[in-house]
């Protein structure tokens, strides 16, 4: 399957079938920091990704809130 990652943008290939949980573990990504999106739809951690799926791993952390002031 094709996997797109952002910030920085890159693309990796991985063989399916593979669960979302295992995909993130293999890429050493903390599940708390990303969403996995297949097509236009979120894929839950137990979803199985097929060999011909196109998957985006979208980082959800955004920064910059003006220093430490509330």
């Amino acid at each position: 399957m094709k996997i797109f990652l952002r910030n920085p943008e890159r693309e990796v290939e991985m063989a399916g079938p593979l669960s979302v949980h295992d995909l993130l573990a293999r890429l050493e990504i903390n599940p708390e920091t990303v969403l996995v999106i297949r097509g236009d739809t979120l894929a839950a951690k137990d979803a199985t990704l097929a060999d011909d799926d196109v998957v985006e791993i979208r980082r959800v952390l955004s920064g910059g809130t003006g220093g430490t002031t509330p």
């Binding site: 599940p31 979208r58 430490t68």
Partner: protein
């Protein structure tokens, strides 16, 4: 995984609630979390006018979307920061959302309305870019909300933002900041009421909400925010959250319920020292406020102008 509510196939899990949701039930869950935050902290009354500070990112667009769907009268405010290749792009997302939902978007632009941009303000003011940006936005958001008579200014700060800010404030024991870190800051002389209705939702939930609701938001990170301390705190907290789900919520809400009150006196003492800025009239502990000083340092405001506007 099955949806906790309808038992249909789940698309998102929220580990700290030990729950998973289908798309439709997840949107309901988010609306409920916002409603609970509004009620718990007394953020808004019925029929009040709200201005949402909109950046084009997931959190602020979600705040706008949820508050609108809960029936509040909500307009957006976008402030252009003059960051090349980023500010125009983020403005497009804010405008597109407003147009698609028939909502009103107010706009201000630092370079054309105030005479400087964030790279220049950061350089001239010898501040980190995020510090110059935060200072500028806080000033403009407050000023526009007051000028237009809004009852409250809402921002998209989420649970992760607030937990990371809390960690930073605790590490340095910033007592005044700790006293002011609360999801509701009541209106005061020169200040509009400020509310953070997404405080009960994590960053992963706000992103998931946008994907499910089909809200396009800017995915690129601000190029000037890369490597800042705040992001580092978020990474640390997420490492803790991975091994112990619920840590961020316990940290933040434990502080709000059990420790915040101990710092209110410091915040109150600081508030008592505020007086109107000689330049713009905004409350400040100095003769000239930090926003006007930044403009002066960036060459966008000269002392003559300052005296004239202060008369």
């Amino acid at each position: 995984m099955k949806c906790r509510r309808c038992r249909g196939p789940a698309v998102i899990d929220v580990r700290r609630h030990n729950a998973a949701f289908c798309g439709e039930c997840f949107v309901e869950h988010c609306n409920e979390q916002v409603r609970r935050a509004i009620d718990r902290f007394g953020m808004l009354g019925r029929g009040e006018r709200v201005l949402v500070a909109v950046s084009g990112g997931k959190d602020s667009l979600m705040a706008w979307d949820v508050l609108s769907s809960l029936g509040y009268r909500v307009d957006g405010l976008y402030v252009g920061l003059g960051i090349e290749g980023y500010s125009e792009e983020s403005a497009r997302y804010a405008r597109r959302f407003a147009a698609r939902h028939g909502l009103e978007l107010l706009e201000r632009d630092l370079p054309s309305d105030y005479g400087y941009d964030i790279p220049e303000g950061s350089r001239a003011g010898r501040r980190a870019p995020c510090s110059a940006c935060g200072l500028s936005k806080r000033h403009v958001f407050n000023a526009v909300a007051l000028d237009h008579g809004y009852d409250a200014l809402a921002t998209g700060h989420n649970l992760d933002d607030e937990a990371a800010v809390l960690l930073g404030n605790v590490l340095r024991w910033e007592e005044g900041y700790l006293g002011r870190q609360y999801p509701l800051l009541p209106a005061a002389e020169g200040f509009v009421r400020k509310i953070k209705p997404l405080v009960r939702l994590g960053e992963r939930e706000t992103a998931a909400y946008c994907v499910i609701r089909g809200i396009d938001y800017i995915l690129e990170e601000c190029p000037m925010a890369a490597g800042n301390r705040h992001l580092g705190y978020k990474e640390l907290l997420n490492d803790l959250e991975a091994s112990s789900p619920g840590t961020k919520a316990m940290f933040l809400f434990g502080f709000l319920e059990r420790a915040h009150g101990r710092f209110e006196d410091e915040a109150e003492d600081e508030r008592k020292e505020l007086r109107p800025c000689a330049g713009c009239g905004a409350p400040t502990p100095a003769e000239v406020c930090a926003f006007c000083r930044l403009r002066m340092q960036a060459g966008a405001l000269v002392p003559v102008e300052l005296q004239r506007t202060g008369e």
